[in-house]
């Protein structure tokens, strides 16, 4: 199952050292054809010193627009809050049955906004009881050092203080998260390339409605 980051296997662990001062740049590509992978979550959990407590900015927003969640993937640190504003013309009924956070936001009107606090690490898949095709993922990570890849498959972690980190890369279509151990040192390389195996995209295709999204 791809829904959980906690019982990670440290398989294929590499003692990579990265330069901490400028932040770590990571490029995620598919194992199959090396194409860049967007929306991959990259997180680094310090192993040598305690995890910094999240600051007041530990919030994210997932809006509902055009009967879709946006963004598709959101990352927050444990204890963070996600706001769900409804920018649509219809009502939504957000829910999740994922173990780290089971919740629902019963039917709420357009223009309203609700928020949920995620207090346990893990992957939370959210859907809408009214619109079966709506799906979004919230990666709740136990570290403030995380990033999400862009369309080029690149993500940049904030500068890491020297030490060992557990680097974890997850994607909604990843069969399993990729976990590596890295060391942060000022003199080392800054770009790290990681390959993940992706399963076929199984999201429900919406019939084009004219004002629908581009997929």
């Amino acid at each position: 199952m791809r829904a959980c980051l906690i019982p990670l296997l440290f398989a294929g662990c590499l003692g990579l050292t990265v330069r901490a001062a400028e932040g770590v740049r990571i490029i995620v590509r598919t194992t199959l054809d090396g194409k860049p992978v967007a929306d991959a979550v990259v997180s680094a959990t310090p192993l040598d010193h305690p995890v910094p407590t999240p600051g007041p900015g530990n919030t994210a927003e997932i809006e509902q627009k055009n009967q879709e969640f946006s963004p598709y993937v959101t990352v927050i640190q444990v204890g963070g809050k996600v706001i769900f504003p409804n920018h649509d013309t219809v009502q939504h009924h957000i829910y999740s049955l994922s173990k780290p956070k089971r919740f629902e936001i019963p039917l709420y009107q357009a223009g309203a906004s609700e928020s949920v606090v995620f207090d346990r690490p893990g992957i939370v898949a959210i859907g809408c009881n009214i619109h079966d095709w709506m799906v979004a993922y919230i990666a709740v990570v136990p570290t403030p050092f995380f990033a999400k890849t862009d369309d080029t498959g690149a993500a940049t972690l904030p500068s890491l203080s020297p030490g060992r980190y557990r680097l974890e890369i997850w994607h909604p279509r990843a069969a399993a998260p990729v976990v590596q151990e890295i060391s942060s040192a000022p003199e080392n390389a800054t770009v790290l390339e990681v390959k993940v195996a992706l399963k076929p995209d199984k999201r429900i295709r919406r019939a084009p409605t004219g004002k629908g999204t581009d997929y």
């Binding site: 049955l97 898949a125 959210i126 859907g127 799906v135």
Partner: protein, 594 residues
């Protein structure tokens, strides 16, 4: 009659047997042909139906799978279910009761049992179980877990299979609970029993018998359910000890002595040896309409046979009856009874035969009558000769002994008597003499008034003819004495005769006109005999019987004779010697010499 070989003495029996045999053979052949064709067609028809039945069975199962998976899909998107699963801790009792209400909604039809509905966590842990009307326990749910593992590994949105649940055969479906798609938040497992009701529903549509049996390799080899009576179904277990018959070909098996065309199909089970589905139809049931028809055909055949029997008897009687009648009548005719004609009032060949027979009988009667009359008019020998040979003019030359016998002075005597007395006297005399002549083999040629002309050696030649003529003459002489004594006592006048006998080659044959013939002899020899008779009138010879030299020479044992001298015969150069029988006075003078 020899055993093993039928022989019929009577033509009628033979004809009846032949006709009946032919008709029976024909009807029998037709009946057997119809019967075997019916059976062949029935087997073929059942075979086709079994294959259709097998497909229908599979289609039914597929429909149930689709129905269950479709239902599970709807269920998984149901808000209440999600809300219940969301709760922490899980309210299992409420969840179960929710599944129960689903189970009631998902009955396949009013009569069908509600399906088994289970809910598993993504880790295949049982969350809730609805087992309405099913004897199921949690430990029976292994097949669901196997199926979920299969579906999860292959990333399938639905998986189905067959397995035992609590010992009963079920079709199983597992469908993931997506929350949201494609995140699997749990698994629905639905199962529907493949049981008696299922078998019955297939039977309702296909009229086929359905039996499910567990694998023969299992220790508990048993009938799972069947549309057949239990005892009959049980025999199926014994039929397939290996459970490995060629699939797709039907076979005929006997259950409780009744033939069933059977198609065995394996039903692959999850993690277990395949079960067996037996699709069957009784050959008897399939053949019932045909058998009814065959019975009608048999009835018609028997009726036809009976009609043929009657017809045969009638025809045979038509043939044999007149034959018997003719045969019986032939016997009557053979006894000489020509009085009754045979009466066959018909126009066919038998009628013609009867007519011909009657004509023949009439002909025979006529011939007999003619022969009788002929025998009276001419002597029997001549009559026979006349009847035997073609009656034609002309004759043959042969040696004949001619005897002439003439009464003396009969003309003068008859003038003094009335004619009736004369005729009576004459007939009595002629009858007596004729009898003697015939007894000695002589033939009366003709009566010439009171004279008798008799032939010996004609028409049947006889070397002893001259002797017979002599013997006859002697007896005639003695008979005349006897007759004269009778006449004397009656007061009638006595008679005297003279006899001349000559033997000569003469012409014998039928003489006369074409319409009227006489068998007689002509020639000088005849005249000589007549002449010799005349000579007896001469007292100088003193004998009533004179024979010629030719006759004497012809005798095998010449008697004692007395030569009388020679006489000149008219038209002959040489004189003819004549003799009297015996010495002089041997015979009394036949008449008083006047």
């Amino acid at each position: 009659m020899k055993p093993g070989r039928l022989q019929f003495r009577r033509f009628r029996t033979r004809l009846v047997c032949l006709l009946l045999g032919l008709v029976a053979a024909m009807l029998g052949t037709v009946y057997l042909l119809i019967s075997s064709a019916n059976e062949r067609n029935a087997i073929e028809h059942i075979d086709q139906n079994l294959k259709i039945g097998a497909r229908l069975f599979q289609k039914n199962l597929d429909e149930r799978i689709d129905y269950l998976s479709g239902s599970a899909k709807v269920m998984s998107n149901d808000y209440q279910i999600r809300k219940l699963i969301m709760q922490d801790p899980l309210d299992r009792e409420t969840l179960r009761s929710n599944l129960d209400s689903y189970a009631d909604r998902l009955r396949f039809n009013a009569k069908a049992l509600p399906p088994v509905i289970t809910l598993f966590s993504p880790e295949r842990e049982i969350l809730a179980l609805s087992i309405r009307n099913q004897r199921l326990d949690r430990e029976h749910l292994g097949p669901f877990q196997d199926l979920i593992r299969l579906a999860a590994d292959a990333d399938m949105e639905k998986a189905s299979g067959y397995s035992y649940l609590g010992g009963k055969l079920h079709v199983l479906v597992v469908v993931p609970l997506y929350a949201p798609y494609p995140n699997i938040a749990g698994w629905f497992g639905l199962a529907y029993p493949i049981d008696q009701a299922f078998a019955d529903s297939i039977k309702n549509t296909t009229l086929l018998e359905l039996t499910f049996a567990s694998n023969a390799a299992e220790p508990d080899h048993r009938i799972l359910s069947s549309t057949l009576p239990p005892r009959t179904a049980h025999e199926i277990l014994a039929l397939r000890p290996t459970g490995n018959n060629a699939a797709g070909t039907s076979q005929i098996v006997l259950l409780q002595g009744e033939p069933y065309v059977t198609l065995f199909q394996p039903l692959d089970l999850l993690e277990e040896a395949p079960a067996t589905i037996a699709l069957q139809r009784s050959l008897h049931t399939e053949l019932a309409p045909a058998r009814a028809l065959e019975k009608t055909v048999l009835g018609i055949s028997l009726a036809a046979l009976a009609a043929a029997a009657l017809a045969a008897v009638w025809i045979a009687r038509g043939v044999s009856q007149p034959l018997l009648q003719l045969a019986a009548h032939t016997k009557v005719v053979a006894t000489g009874d020509y009085t009754k004609p045979i009466t066959l009032p018909r126009t066919d060949e038998f009628g013609q035969l009867a007519t011909a027979f009657n004509q023949m009988t009439a002909g025979l009667a006529e011939r007999d009558r003619v022969r009788d009359l002929l025998g009276k008019v001419v002597s029997p020998e001549i009559a026979t000769q006349l009847l035997r040979s073609d009656l034609q003019l002309g004759g043959e030359e042969r040696e004949v002994t001619i005897l002439f016998c003439d009464l003396r002075n009969f003309t003068g005597m008859s003038e003094q008597m009335n004619p009736i007395d004369v005729l009576s006297l004459l007939n009595r005399y002629l009858d007596r003499m004729s009898t003697i002549i015939e007894r000695h083999g002589g033939v009366i040629d003709k009566y010439i008034g009171d004279a008798i002309m008799a032939l010996f050696g004609a028409p049947v030649s006889d070397p002893a003819a001259p002797g017979k003529a002599i013997a006859a003459a002697r007896e005639m002489a003695r008979a005349l004495q006897g007759l004269n004594r009778e006449f004397a006592t009656e007061g009638r006048p006595t008679l005297a005769f003279g006899i001349g006998i000559n033997t000569a080659r003469v012409v014998a044959g039928n003489m006369g006109s074409r319409t009227r013939l006489n068998y007689t002899v002509i020639g000088d020899g005849v005249n000589l005999a007549s002449r010799l008779e005349s000579l007896t009138k001469d007292p100088a010879y003193d004998t009533p019987i004179i024979i010629s030299e030719a006759t004497l020479r012809s005798l095998l044992n010449p008697p004692l004779v007395r030569e009388l001298g020679e006489v000149q015969v008219k038209g002959k150069a040489a004189a003819v010697k004549i003799y009297a029988l015996g010495a002089k006075g041997e015979s009394q003078p036949p008449y008083p010499v006047s």
